[in-house]
């Protein structure tokens, strides 16, 4: 009897653990299934090469490029902000700040990641954009630049926290070895700690990239939701995610081309994220082999 009860409990707990895999399968499965009908209307060539994305217009065009350029642009700007700031902050926290202070500063920094994204949207639209307009007078009210910068600030803690964890995990005997031959803190940090923590720092960057690619509200609020094939950050544009929000806000009959288009957009986003993750894995593998 007792044996049976134990077996039942174990099975229930296993099902709970396995359910997390079902989530992944569910996401991938639904995105694929709902996207397939889309490609009965649109050829893959048109999807990948057409320069306009207007699936809800009278004569609809289905080129993903404008959404990709928007996504690419915001992500690049965000990373230009987050990677230097996050990495330098991590090195500072790990190598210069006393452990007692680090214990206090790290959680405060992590609060940056806890702020709801819609609040960041407000900040980008009504604080950062007006501020930037003082420097760049012909900056549009909705623009990619401000959204990208704010997303960058938002993901600083993802980059810095995980990088700091990786640097903190570098054994102290390596640091001592470096100091023992007369290296400075900065030299130790750049020549020993950061290379030794490279694998963990890469994971931090990849998570940061994933966040930036998938960030929705900041771009939906501050970048203007207009698909725009441009690499000019002062113009409005739409990302894949912003497009999904825009369509979802309207009335959306199940099975309509609009409905299918957001799944295609979502699937593209997922594939994009996956590519970066695989790239990250490859990078780490390559670096580990070199050692």
């Amino acid at each position: 009897m007792r044996r049976l009860k134990e077996r039942v409990i174990e099975t229930v707990l296993f099902l709970a653990a396995a359910s997390s895999v079902l989530v992944t399968i569910g996401i991938v499965g639904i995105l694929v299934v709902e996207s397939i009908p889309f490609f009965e209307h649109v050829t893959l060539k048109e999807f990948l090469t057409d320069t306009e994305w207007t699936p809800l217009f009278e004569n609809a065009r289905y080129g993903i490029l404008p959404l990709l350029s928007g996504t690419f642009l915001t992500t690049v700007i965000a990373l230009l902000v987050a990677i230097p700031l996050g990495t330098v902050t991590a090195a500072f926290l790990s190598e210069y700040v006393r452990p007692a202070w680090r214990e206090v500063l790290k959680p405060i920094l992590e609060l940056l990641a806890a702020v709801p994204t819609v609040v960041y949207g407000y900040f980008a639209l009504l604080f950062v954009t007006p501020l930037l307009q003082k420097i760049i007078p012909d900056l549009s009210g909705f623009n990619v630049l401000s959204a990208g910068i704010v997303i960058g600030m938002m993901i600083v803690p993802y980059v810095s926290s995980l990088s700091e964890d990786a640097m903190g995990a570098v054994p102290s005997h390596l640091r001592e070895a470096s100091f023992a031959v007369g290296a400075s803190r900065m030299q130790t940090s750049f020549r020993v700690v950061i290379p030794a923590a490279f694998s963990g720092i890469t994971s931090a960057y990849i998570l940061g990239i994933s966040r930036a690619l998938g960030e929705t509200m900041v771009v939906a609020i501050a970048a203007g939701m207009q698909p725009n094939l441009t690499l000019n950050p002062t113009e409005p544009a739409a990302t894949i995610t912003a497009f999904i929000v825009q369509v979802s806000l309207g009335d959306l009959p199940h099975g309509s081309i609009g409905y299918q288009s957001i799944y295609v957009a979502g699937l593209s986003l997922l594939v994009l994220t996956l590519c970066f993750n695989i790239f990250g894995l490859w990078l780490r593998k390559k670096f580990q082999e070199k050692e």
Partner: protein
């Protein structure tokens, strides 16, 4: 052989660069912290004066001055409860399984790898999945239940990971002591593992709910309405069995969606409403995160094995 002077010059030079680097680090850290403070202050300056009692007890309206967040905060509250009911049991159970039961084999490896990867999946794809699966396949509609399930699945990895960390901190000696007394595995878990890790699990629950309360995109995707001028069905009724679960199937809006809605209007008066909602949201998430940090540090101090 270098002269003493060369050595000193060399050290001066490196001290200088060391100082520059430390200063850059300090500036980066300060820049991040100042951004956080600026955001809070900017939002508060606009939003706080708008927060009155009426703001909490009014429905949204065409007139910015009359509008309030009644339906939004009630909606957020209901969705949070549903999320908690969905995510906590599932997440804790999964965490317990992975730490206490799972053997090193390909099944557990897939589960582990999957949990790490879930953290990188954009939240909006959860919304797309929910729209296809819950709304249309399972016909749950654009309801509180759908929203709760969606956010529950979204925060599941957070709860699993923190549960595992909390359980891993318990030394093996405790388990052995319990088994030595003749306890079964489940008894050991119920009487020792779960109580001792409850502080850590609590931290994870709070963090996950604070994440869920600010989530906007997946709920917009499942088609949450932005203008709701009524409340969900009351959970208590006057006929037996007195408890009424009909509210689960009601349409809803939540605070972040309400804020987004006001923010997307051109009039500045509505932006004030958005700021006020933002202040409330921000305070809630900051308090929840602060609480989690406090709980974690207290838990660490108390538990000296």
């Amino acid at each position: 052989m270098e002269s003493q002077q060369d050595i000193l010059a060399n050290i001066k030079r490196r001290q200088f660069w060391d100082f520059v680097f430390a200063l850059t680090g300090l500036m980066s850290l300060l820049f991040a912290l100042i951004t956080l403070i600026t955001l809070i202050v900017d939002l508060s300056l606009t939003g706080v004066p708008r927060i009155t009692l009426d703001f909490f007890t009014s429905f949204p309206s065409r007139f910015a001055g009359k509008a309030g967040i009644l339906s939004a905060w009630v909606g957020s509250f209901c969705v949070m409860i549903t999320t908690a009911f969905c995510a906590i049991p599932l997440g804790v159970a999964a965490g317990v399984y992975l730490e206490e039961y799972s053997k090193k084999n390909w099944v557990s490896q897939i589960i582990e790898l999957n949990i790490i990867n879930l953290a990188g999946i954009p939240s909006i794809t959860y919304g797309l999945m929910a729209l296809g699966l819950f709304v249309y396949q399972l016909k749950l509609g654009q309801s509180i239940l759908t929203a709760g399930l969606t956010l529950g699945l979204l925060v599941l990895p957070i709860i699993i990971v923190t549960t595992r960390e909390a359980i891993r901190a318990i030394p093996n000696a405790i388990r052995e002591a319990s088994y030595a007394m003749g306890a079964s595995k489940w008894q050991t878990i119920r009487h020792h593992i779960l109580p001792y890790s409850s502080g850590g699990i609590m931290t994870g629950v709070i963090i996950s709910l604070s994440r869920a309360i600010g989530e906007t995109a997946p709920l917009i995707t499942i088609g949450a309405l932005t203008f709701i001028a009524f409340l969900p069905t009351a959970p208590i009724s006057d006929v037996p069995p007195f408890i009424n679960l009909k509210w689960l199937m009601d349409p809803f809006t939540v605070m972040p969606i309400q804020m987004f809605n006001w923010l997307s209007r051109p009039q500045a008066e509505f932006h004030v409403n958005a700021a006020a909602t933002g202040v409330i949201l921000l305070m809630m998430t900051l308090i929840m995160n602060g609480g989690a940090i406090y709980l974690r540090s207290r838990f660490r101090k108390k538990m000296k094995w």
